[in-house]
Subunit: 186 residues, 2 copies
Protein backbone atom coordinates (compact mmCIF):
# COMPACT_ATOMS: atom_id res chain seq x y z
CA UNK A 1 0.00 0.00 0.00
CA UNK A 2 1.38 3.42 -0.97
CA UNK A 3 1.59 5.84 1.94
CA UNK A 4 0.98 9.55 1.61
CA UNK A 5 1.91 12.39 3.98
CA UNK A 6 -1.21 14.20 5.21
CA UNK A 7 -2.05 17.19 7.43
CA UNK A 8 -2.45 15.92 11.00
CA UNK A 9 -5.16 18.02 12.76
CA UNK A 10 -6.88 15.35 14.89
CA UNK A 11 -4.96 12.22 13.90
CA UNK A 12 -6.05 9.66 16.52
CA UNK A 13 -9.28 7.80 15.70
CA UNK A 14 -11.66 6.72 17.11
CA UNK A 15 -12.36 8.80 20.19
CA UNK A 16 -15.42 8.93 22.45
CA UNK A 17 -18.10 11.57 22.06
CA UNK A 18 -18.86 12.70 25.59
CA UNK A 19 -20.97 15.32 27.34
CA UNK A 20 -18.98 17.06 30.08
CA UNK A 21 -21.07 18.79 32.73
CA UNK A 22 -19.93 21.48 35.14
CA UNK A 23 -21.58 24.05 37.42
CA UNK A 24 -21.20 27.74 38.19
CA UNK A 25 -20.57 29.07 41.71
CA UNK A 26 -24.34 29.59 41.95
CA UNK A 27 -24.90 25.94 41.02
CA UNK A 28 -26.17 26.57 37.46
CA UNK A 29 -25.16 23.61 35.30
CA UNK A 30 -23.55 23.67 31.87
CA UNK A 31 -22.67 20.98 29.34
CA UNK A 32 -20.03 20.73 26.59
CA UNK A 33 -19.52 18.09 23.92
CA UNK A 34 -15.95 16.80 23.70
CA UNK A 35 -14.15 14.09 21.74
CA UNK A 36 -11.01 14.61 23.85
CA UNK A 37 -11.78 12.42 26.87
CA UNK A 38 -9.44 9.67 27.98
CA UNK A 39 -8.51 7.07 30.56
CA UNK A 40 -5.08 8.07 31.91
CA UNK A 41 -4.70 6.08 35.15
CA UNK A 42 -6.83 2.97 35.44
CA UNK A 43 -5.88 1.54 38.83
CA UNK A 44 -5.29 3.45 42.04
CA UNK A 45 -6.42 6.14 41.60
CA UNK A 46 -8.57 6.12 38.48
CA UNK A 47 -7.87 9.35 36.59
CA UNK A 48 -9.65 10.68 33.53
CA UNK A 49 -8.31 13.49 31.33
CA UNK A 50 -10.29 15.99 29.29
CA UNK A 51 -8.82 18.59 26.93
CA UNK A 52 -10.74 21.89 26.78
CA UNK A 53 -9.96 25.11 24.92
CA UNK A 54 -9.40 28.18 27.13
CA UNK A 55 -12.20 30.17 25.48
CA UNK A 56 -14.88 27.62 26.42
CA UNK A 57 -17.35 28.58 29.17
CA UNK A 58 -16.82 25.09 30.63
CA UNK A 59 -13.10 25.87 30.95
CA UNK A 60 -13.98 28.79 33.24
CA UNK A 61 -16.51 26.75 35.26
CA UNK A 62 -14.27 23.72 35.73
CA UNK A 63 -11.22 25.85 36.58
CA UNK A 64 -13.23 27.58 39.35
CA UNK A 65 -15.20 24.63 40.72
CA UNK A 66 -12.44 22.03 40.15
CA UNK A 67 -15.14 19.46 39.42
CA UNK A 68 -16.73 17.92 36.33
CA UNK A 69 -18.76 14.93 35.23
CA UNK A 70 -18.13 12.94 32.05
CA UNK A 71 -21.42 11.59 30.67
CA UNK A 72 -21.25 9.04 27.84
CA UNK A 73 -24.20 9.57 25.49
CA UNK A 74 -25.83 7.13 23.08
CA UNK A 75 -26.75 7.40 19.43
CA UNK A 76 -30.38 7.97 20.58
CA UNK A 77 -29.48 11.50 21.67
CA UNK A 78 -27.01 12.28 18.89
CA UNK A 79 -28.76 15.51 17.87
CA UNK A 80 -28.38 16.87 21.43
CA UNK A 81 -24.72 15.79 21.44
CA UNK A 82 -24.08 17.72 18.25
CA UNK A 83 -26.05 20.76 19.46
CA UNK A 84 -24.18 20.93 22.80
CA UNK A 85 -20.97 21.33 20.82
CA UNK A 86 -22.35 24.09 18.61
CA UNK A 87 -23.43 26.85 21.04
CA UNK A 88 -21.99 28.35 24.24
CA UNK A 89 -23.53 27.88 27.68
CA UNK A 90 -22.85 31.59 28.24
CA UNK A 91 -25.80 32.25 25.92
CA UNK A 92 -28.13 29.32 26.53
CA UNK A 93 -29.20 26.73 29.12
CA UNK A 94 -28.16 23.88 26.85
CA UNK A 95 -29.49 21.11 29.10
CA UNK A 96 -33.02 22.54 28.97
CA UNK A 97 -32.80 23.65 25.33
CA UNK A 98 -31.72 20.24 24.05
CA UNK A 99 -33.87 18.04 26.30
CA UNK A 100 -31.18 16.72 28.64
CA UNK A 101 -32.25 15.91 32.22
CA UNK A 102 -29.86 16.86 35.05
CA UNK A 103 -29.69 14.53 38.05
CA UNK A 104 -27.84 15.32 41.29
CA UNK A 105 -24.40 13.73 41.54
CA UNK A 106 -23.08 12.11 44.73
CA UNK A 107 -19.81 13.97 45.26
CA UNK A 108 -19.82 17.03 42.99
CA UNK A 109 -22.18 19.89 42.13
CA UNK A 110 -22.04 19.29 38.37
CA UNK A 111 -25.05 17.17 37.35
CA UNK A 112 -25.29 13.70 35.89
CA UNK A 113 -27.21 13.57 32.61
CA UNK A 114 -30.07 11.10 33.00
CA UNK A 115 -30.13 10.14 29.30
CA UNK A 116 -26.47 9.01 29.37
CA UNK A 117 -25.94 5.40 30.53
CA UNK A 118 -22.54 6.14 32.11
CA UNK A 119 -21.72 9.14 34.34
CA UNK A 120 -18.24 9.68 35.75
CA UNK A 121 -17.81 12.16 38.64
CA UNK A 122 -14.36 13.78 38.77
CA UNK A 123 -12.40 16.10 41.07
CA UNK A 124 -9.70 18.12 39.30
CA UNK A 125 -6.21 17.18 40.52
CA UNK A 126 -4.19 19.01 37.87
CA UNK A 127 -4.44 21.37 34.91
CA UNK A 128 -1.74 21.39 32.21
CA UNK A 129 -1.53 23.84 29.32
CA UNK A 130 -0.79 21.72 26.23
CA UNK A 131 -0.79 23.47 22.88
CA UNK A 132 -4.22 24.89 22.07
CA UNK A 133 -6.06 22.95 24.81
CA UNK A 134 -5.75 22.71 28.58
CA UNK A 135 -5.66 19.18 29.95
CA UNK A 136 -7.80 18.78 33.08
CA UNK A 137 -6.94 15.67 35.07
CA UNK A 138 -9.87 14.41 37.13
CA UNK A 139 -9.69 11.83 39.87
CA UNK A 140 -12.76 9.66 39.49
CA UNK A 141 -14.76 9.71 42.73
CA UNK A 142 -17.93 7.95 41.55
CA UNK A 143 -19.19 6.17 38.43
CA UNK A 144 -22.88 5.56 37.76
CA UNK A 145 -24.32 3.19 35.18
CA UNK A 146 -27.86 2.52 34.01
CA UNK A 147 -28.88 -0.91 35.26
CA UNK A 148 -29.72 -2.05 31.73
CA UNK A 149 -26.10 -1.73 30.54
CA UNK A 150 -24.82 -3.95 33.37
CA UNK A 151 -24.65 -7.70 33.74
CA UNK A 152 -25.69 -9.51 36.93
CA UNK A 153 -22.25 -8.89 38.48
CA UNK A 154 -22.41 -5.12 37.87
CA UNK A 155 -20.01 -5.19 34.91
CA UNK A 156 -20.62 -2.99 31.86
CA UNK A 157 -21.71 -5.00 28.80
CA UNK A 158 -20.27 -3.18 25.75
CA UNK A 159 -23.06 -4.52 23.49
CA UNK A 160 -25.60 -2.65 25.64
CA UNK A 161 -23.76 0.68 25.75
CA UNK A 162 -24.70 2.29 22.44
CA UNK A 163 -21.84 4.76 22.89
CA UNK A 164 -21.01 7.23 20.12
CA UNK A 165 -17.68 6.98 18.32
CA UNK A 166 -16.07 10.08 16.85
CA UNK A 167 -13.94 9.56 13.75
CA UNK A 168 -12.43 12.39 11.78
CA UNK A 169 -15.44 14.69 11.95
CA UNK A 170 -18.15 12.02 11.84
CA UNK A 171 -20.22 10.39 14.55
CA UNK A 172 -20.44 6.59 14.27
CA UNK A 173 -22.20 3.80 16.09
CA UNK A 174 -20.23 0.82 17.34
CA UNK A 175 -20.29 -2.18 15.01
CA UNK A 176 -19.79 -5.72 16.24
CA UNK A 177 -17.64 -7.34 18.90
CA UNK A 178 -14.44 -8.83 17.46
CA UNK A 179 -13.00 -10.48 20.55
CA UNK A 180 -12.10 -9.88 24.18
CA UNK A 181 -8.74 -8.43 25.22
CA UNK A 182 -6.44 -11.45 25.59
CA UNK A 183 -8.36 -13.70 23.16
CA UNK A 184 -5.15 -14.80 21.45
CA UNK A 185 -3.89 -16.27 24.72
CA UNK A 186 -6.83 -18.63 25.18
CA UNK B 1 -33.70 4.43 34.19
CA UNK B 2 -32.33 3.40 37.57
CA UNK B 3 -28.67 4.25 38.05
CA UNK B 4 -26.24 2.10 39.98
CA UNK B 5 -22.81 2.97 41.41
CA UNK B 6 -20.11 0.81 39.84
CA UNK B 7 -16.36 0.32 40.17
CA UNK B 8 -14.63 2.71 37.75
CA UNK B 9 -11.41 1.02 36.45
CA UNK B 10 -11.40 2.24 32.81
CA UNK B 11 -14.61 4.27 32.67
CA UNK B 12 -14.30 6.16 29.36
CA UNK B 13 -15.50 4.25 26.30
CA UNK B 14 -14.80 3.92 23.44
CA UNK B 15 -11.08 4.42 23.00
CA UNK B 16 -8.79 3.61 20.07
CA UNK B 17 -6.73 0.43 19.91
CA UNK B 18 -3.33 1.58 18.71
CA UNK B 19 0.10 0.09 18.12
CA UNK B 20 2.83 2.35 19.50
CA UNK B 21 6.28 1.78 18.04
CA UNK B 22 9.59 2.89 19.53
CA UNK B 23 13.27 2.05 19.03
CA UNK B 24 16.25 1.24 21.22
CA UNK B 25 19.51 3.22 21.10
CA UNK B 26 20.79 0.57 18.67
CA UNK B 27 17.75 1.15 16.45
CA UNK B 28 15.94 -2.11 17.29
CA UNK B 29 12.19 -1.47 17.06
CA UNK B 30 9.51 -2.46 19.55
CA UNK B 31 5.72 -2.25 19.53
CA UNK B 32 3.11 -1.98 22.30
CA UNK B 33 -0.69 -2.14 22.11
CA UNK B 34 -2.42 0.72 23.93
CA UNK B 35 -6.00 1.92 24.31
CA UNK B 36 -4.79 5.10 26.02
CA UNK B 37 -4.01 7.29 23.00
CA UNK B 38 -5.61 10.70 22.57
CA UNK B 39 -5.74 13.96 20.67
CA UNK B 40 -4.79 16.70 23.16
CA UNK B 41 -3.95 19.73 21.00
CA UNK B 42 -5.45 19.75 17.53
CA UNK B 43 -4.23 23.02 16.01
CA UNK B 44 -0.77 24.54 16.33
CA UNK B 45 0.97 22.40 17.35
CA UNK B 46 -0.82 19.06 17.03
CA UNK B 47 -0.07 17.07 20.18
CA UNK B 48 -0.96 13.46 20.90
CA UNK B 49 -0.85 11.89 24.36
CA UNK B 50 -0.17 8.26 25.26
CA UNK B 51 -0.34 6.78 28.75
CA UNK B 52 2.17 4.02 29.45
CA UNK B 53 2.93 2.09 32.64
CA UNK B 54 6.46 2.51 34.02
CA UNK B 55 7.22 -1.22 33.88
CA UNK B 56 6.67 -1.45 30.11
CA UNK B 57 9.73 -1.87 27.90
CA UNK B 58 8.26 0.81 25.60
CA UNK B 59 8.30 3.23 28.57
CA UNK B 60 12.07 2.77 28.81
CA UNK B 61 12.60 3.09 25.05
CA UNK B 62 10.42 6.17 24.62
CA UNK B 63 11.87 7.88 27.71
CA UNK B 64 15.38 7.44 26.28
CA UNK B 65 14.72 8.15 22.60
CA UNK B 66 12.00 10.78 23.20
CA UNK B 67 10.27 9.57 20.03
CA UNK B 68 7.36 7.29 19.20
CA UNK B 69 4.94 6.47 16.39
CA UNK B 70 1.22 5.82 16.86
CA UNK B 71 -0.01 3.32 14.28
CA UNK B 72 -3.78 2.80 13.97
CA UNK B 73 -4.47 -0.84 13.11
CA UNK B 74 -7.52 -2.38 11.45
CA UNK B 75 -9.72 -5.31 12.36
CA UNK B 76 -7.82 -7.34 9.72
CA UNK B 77 -4.81 -7.55 12.04
CA UNK B 78 -6.72 -7.84 15.32
CA UNK B 79 -4.86 -11.00 16.41
CA UNK B 80 -1.52 -9.17 16.12
CA UNK B 81 -2.96 -6.21 18.04
CA UNK B 82 -4.01 -8.49 20.87
CA UNK B 83 -0.70 -10.38 20.84
CA UNK B 84 1.39 -7.18 20.97
CA UNK B 85 -0.36 -6.34 24.24
CA UNK B 86 0.25 -9.76 25.77
CA UNK B 87 4.05 -10.17 25.72
CA UNK B 88 7.03 -7.92 26.38
CA UNK B 89 9.44 -6.70 23.71
CA UNK B 90 12.23 -7.44 26.20
CA UNK B 91 11.62 -11.13 25.41
CA UNK B 92 10.54 -11.15 21.78
CA UNK B 93 10.79 -9.24 18.48
CA UNK B 94 7.04 -8.70 18.37
CA UNK B 95 6.99 -7.11 14.91
CA UNK B 96 8.57 -10.21 13.34
CA UNK B 97 6.74 -12.69 15.57
CA UNK B 98 3.29 -11.30 14.77
CA UNK B 99 3.78 -10.49 11.08
CA UNK B 100 4.00 -6.70 11.28
CA UNK B 101 6.17 -4.97 8.67
CA UNK B 102 8.33 -2.03 9.82
CA UNK B 103 8.81 0.84 7.39
CA UNK B 104 11.25 3.72 7.91
CA UNK B 105 9.66 6.89 9.29
CA UNK B 106 10.54 10.37 8.00
CA UNK B 107 11.54 12.14 11.22
CA UNK B 108 12.04 9.51 13.93
CA UNK B 109 13.86 6.19 14.32
CA UNK B 110 10.77 4.29 15.49
CA UNK B 111 9.21 2.51 12.50
CA UNK B 112 5.86 2.91 10.81
CA UNK B 113 3.85 -0.31 10.65
CA UNK B 114 2.99 -1.00 7.01
CA UNK B 115 -0.24 -2.86 7.83
CA UNK B 116 -1.70 0.15 9.69
CA UNK B 117 -3.46 2.72 7.45
CA UNK B 118 -2.50 5.68 9.68
CA UNK B 119 0.95 6.33 11.18
CA UNK B 120 1.63 9.33 13.41
CA UNK B 121 5.26 10.32 14.09
CA UNK B 122 5.77 12.08 17.45
CA UNK B 123 8.59 13.83 19.31
CA UNK B 124 8.19 13.77 23.11
CA UNK B 125 7.72 17.29 24.53
CA UNK B 126 6.71 16.31 28.05
CA UNK B 127 6.29 13.38 30.44
CA UNK B 128 3.87 13.62 33.38
CA UNK B 129 3.47 11.01 36.11
CA UNK B 130 -0.29 10.56 36.54
CA UNK B 131 -1.46 7.82 38.88
CA UNK B 132 -0.37 4.40 37.64
CA UNK B 133 0.58 5.60 34.14
CA UNK B 134 3.01 8.17 32.75
CA UNK B 135 1.56 10.51 30.17
CA UNK B 136 3.91 11.08 27.23
CA UNK B 137 3.01 14.15 25.20
CA UNK B 138 4.15 13.91 21.59
CA UNK B 139 4.29 16.75 19.12
CA UNK B 140 3.14 15.33 15.81
CA UNK B 141 5.85 15.87 13.19
CA UNK B 142 4.44 13.72 10.36
CA UNK B 143 1.29 11.74 9.61
CA UNK B 144 1.13 9.09 6.91
CA UNK B 145 -2.02 7.52 5.46
CA UNK B 146 -2.61 4.70 3.05
CA UNK B 147 -3.87 6.17 -0.20
CA UNK B 148 -6.96 3.96 -0.13
CA UNK B 149 -8.30 5.59 3.07
CA UNK B 150 -8.09 9.10 1.56
CA UNK B 151 -10.43 10.99 -0.71
CA UNK B 152 -9.21 12.95 -3.76
CA UNK B 153 -8.37 15.96 -1.57
CA UNK B 154 -6.20 13.92 0.81
CA UNK B 155 -8.79 13.83 3.59
CA UNK B 156 -9.32 10.65 5.66
CA UNK B 157 -12.62 8.91 4.87
CA UNK B 158 -13.81 7.31 8.13
CA UNK B 159 -15.74 4.62 6.26
CA UNK B 160 -12.44 3.40 4.75
CA UNK B 161 -10.46 3.34 8.00
CA UNK B 162 -11.52 0.03 9.57
CA UNK B 163 -10.08 1.22 12.89
CA UNK B 164 -10.48 -0.91 16.02
CA UNK B 165 -12.58 0.41 18.90
CA UNK B 166 -11.81 -0.66 22.44
CA UNK B 167 -14.77 -0.84 24.83
CA UNK B 168 -14.51 -2.17 28.35
CA UNK B 169 -12.23 -5.10 27.57
CA UNK B 170 -13.61 -5.89 24.10
CA UNK B 171 -12.39 -5.01 20.61
CA UNK B 172 -15.15 -3.74 18.28
CA UNK B 173 -15.43 -2.70 14.68
CA UNK B 174 -16.98 0.64 13.79
CA UNK B 175 -20.67 0.46 12.87
CA UNK B 176 -22.33 3.01 10.60
CA UNK B 177 -21.98 6.75 10.12
CA UNK B 178 -24.64 8.70 12.04
CA UNK B 179 -23.89 12.21 10.86
CA UNK B 180 -21.11 14.75 10.45
CA UNK B 181 -20.06 17.05 13.28
CA UNK B 182 -22.31 20.13 12.94
CA UNK B 183 -25.17 18.30 11.19
CA UNK B 184 -27.79 19.92 13.46
CA UNK B 185 -26.74 23.37 12.21
CA UNK B 186 -27.45 22.62 8.54
Amino acid sequence: MTKQRIKPSRPVNPSPAGLVTSASAAGVPNVLTLAEIFNVSIGKPVIVGIAVRKQRYSHELISRSREFVVNLPTVDILAAVDQCGSVSGRDLDKLAAFGLTPLPADKVRAPLIAECPINIECLVIGIHEIGDHDLFLGEVVAVHADENVLDATGRIVPARLGTIIYQNGEYWSAGTAQGRHGFTRT
